[in-house]
Symmetry: C2
Subunit: 372 residues, 2 copies
């Protein structure tokens, strides 16, 4: 058997990911025909959201204007970068469709697997994540933003959420845990079970009651989805509706491969200085171009491996026609790497300048999210 040259788990993403193979291995369904609302979203349209489980039930809910919930989480560590912002694009999309949004700050998971300092984690969650979310357009209305360590100011809600996290442990064996996660620590197991509650507790009567939940994730989070889906089928004393999930490509790091908070040359943070950003793109962004201008004019570049192009495709250029032109111009050699980089830099700098202005207003809105 051939050795896999990539590895995708909730705690590690390594190598160049073969998404078609992932779809097969994970048993996902490819995203195929989608109704208008979804086609209008470039993440769906361009296959950046590439796979799903039971997503038709979400499409049905949208069609029939039925209440549904989008749930996601964030790990409060490191800088908030464009990889994280890709998740937020999805949150905003579902919010525009009328979904109730649940956002869990995985501070207990971070405590158990990274940094055992809850107040530091809380500060990071607010300053790096929440303020950026608000600046990017997250609306406090119909949005339940919470910390795993402080689920609610309503004790009935808190008791229901934590009680469920404990009860789900009944429905899984250690052999199944090993099959899903490999060898894990008690801290990771507790976090995984709490995450099951994060994904399904909106269905409890203390919250929204029974309604469809969709969890958009990167493929690395699929083990958590599988665990929750297995458990849902087994719980007999409360009728949970099976989860839907979608899977998105990872925004690649500047140098190709994974974007990682622990490597500042792999990402651009939303609070990065504009000059630094330009330099980072020029210096690190992996190029699909040729070694000399002459060669490039002759042979053309490869947009599929070019990070600047990929960032335009996956984040900064939502206009398909403009993107197509860039694609063909680069491929034909008409557009040079330095010019392609400059298109990204201009887009990025415009974005960051506006964003950093919006952050100032966003800071004043933080309390609206913390009073739930």
């Amino acid at each position: 058997m051939q050795k896999k040259e990539f590895s995708v788990t909730p705690w590690e993403v390594k190598g160049n990911i073969d998404y078609e193979r992932l779809i097969k291995e994970f048993g996902l369904s490819p995203i195929s025909s989608l109704p208008r609302q979804f086609q209008e979203n470039f993440l769906f349209r361009r296959g950046i959201i590439y796979g799903h489980r039971d997503f038709d039930k979400v499409i049905e809910a949208v069609k029939n204007k039925k209440k549904f919930v989008m749930m996601t989480g964030l790990m409060p560590s490191g800088k908030f970068h464009f990889g994280h912002a890709l998740v937020l694009k999805q949150i905003l999309f579902y919010q525009s469709l009328g979904a109730k949004i649940y956002i869990a700050v995985a501070d207990l998971e971070a405590y158990n697997t990274r940094n055992p300092n809850l107040s530091e984690l809380r500060k990071t969650a607010i300053e790096e994540y929440l303020i950026n979310y608000i600046a990017l357009g997250l609306n406090p209305k119909n949005c339940d933003f919470y910390f795993q360590s402080q689920r609610s100011k309503d004790s009935e809600k808190s008791n229901a959420y934590y009680g469920l996290a404990n009860r789900v442990s009944r429905y899984i064996t250690f052999n199944e845990i090993k099959a899903i996660y490999g060898d894990i620590t008690p801290g990771k197991l507790s976090s995984a079970l709490l995450q099951v509650s994060d994904m399904i507790h909106s269905q409890l009567p203390e919250f929204e009651g029974p309604s469809q939940v969709v969890v958009p994730v990167g493929s690395d989070q699929d083990p958590h989805i599988k665990l929750a889906r297995d458990i849902i089928q087994r719980i007999k004393d409360y009728k949970f509706i099976q989860l839907s999930s979608t899977y998105n490509l990872f925004l690649p790091g500047l140098k190709g491969g994974k974007m990682s908070s622990s490597d500042a040359t792999s990402y651009i943070a939303l609070t990065d200085n504009l000059d630094d950003t330009s330099n980072k793109i020029k210096k690190y962004a992996f190029s699909g171009g040729q070694n000399t201008i002459e060669e490039h004019r002759k042979k053309g570049g490869n947009p599929d491996t070019d990070i600047s192009y990929q960032w335009l495709r996956m984040f900064f250029e939502e206009d398909d026609k403009k993107l197509e032109k860039i694609y063909h111009d680069y491929k034909s050699g008409k557009l040079l790497t330095s010019e392609l980089k400059q298109i990204l830099i201009d887009k990025l700098n415009k974005f960051l300048k506006q964003h950093q202005e919006k952050r100032k207003k966003a800071e004043k809105l933080v309390d609206k999210f913390l009073l739930i």
Copy 2:
């Protein structure tokens, strides 16, 4: 190596227990010199509470009139019998010493390891346990009686309690879990970690803050104590005071061996009918007497193996002089088995008659314990 002829774990107690060996194997300290208040309690005085960990800190707290906490739990299953009532004697004793009492209804543990029906478990906890506790004298003042599934009506308290249960998972490995419990299920592991929070959460600022906690247990619960003590030493982001614990003998079952809720001929429940009770004692209570009256008069009986005598010693006869007389009369053959049984039956029936009257009043006081 000699095979052990008994086994004591949190989920099973089998065989005839050699308490001296338990003290050695578990690394407990024997109960030795005790101040007056403790000597006045027959459970301490007679060595029914036979071992401890760090109990001197509780003695110090009592001497110096410092605030301290007594924590215990109950498993809401089966009938409330005299084995359970022995725990309550200790609760009442600590309440009389001024301790704040924490009583956890382990309904989530019961859900995960026995019966996944929380409303049934709640009903059993109230009707079989709480009402008997109240009838036996439990005072709602200074007593925090709670369900694991509904820690508090104050969300800050609930969040703190459940958050702690999740965080403690960081401080233990699966190898250590195996060394303490053997092979367990995820449900049992979750329950064990929640139980750590049950034992230590009173020390959080949301509850009593730092103060000594004593957990009186039967030896079968020592693994939970060990787990909590190990974890306490490792948590660095909050300073927990090390737990104290005491260990009591099990009230033996009627036929000798273990008293078990699943064998109605092994116990007497506090709601049992008086006639049935007399018959059960006559029929099942294991006797230390001789086969014939003549032989008994000549050789005498053995109070150490006689269950009726043991029940008098461990529960019904608090007067040392009366107990001593019974001991010697039985040993000398002056007291016959039928007469010894009748002493127990008279005591028991008097107790049950009064108790069952008190239960009626107790039913009206239930709400005082459920409004916390």
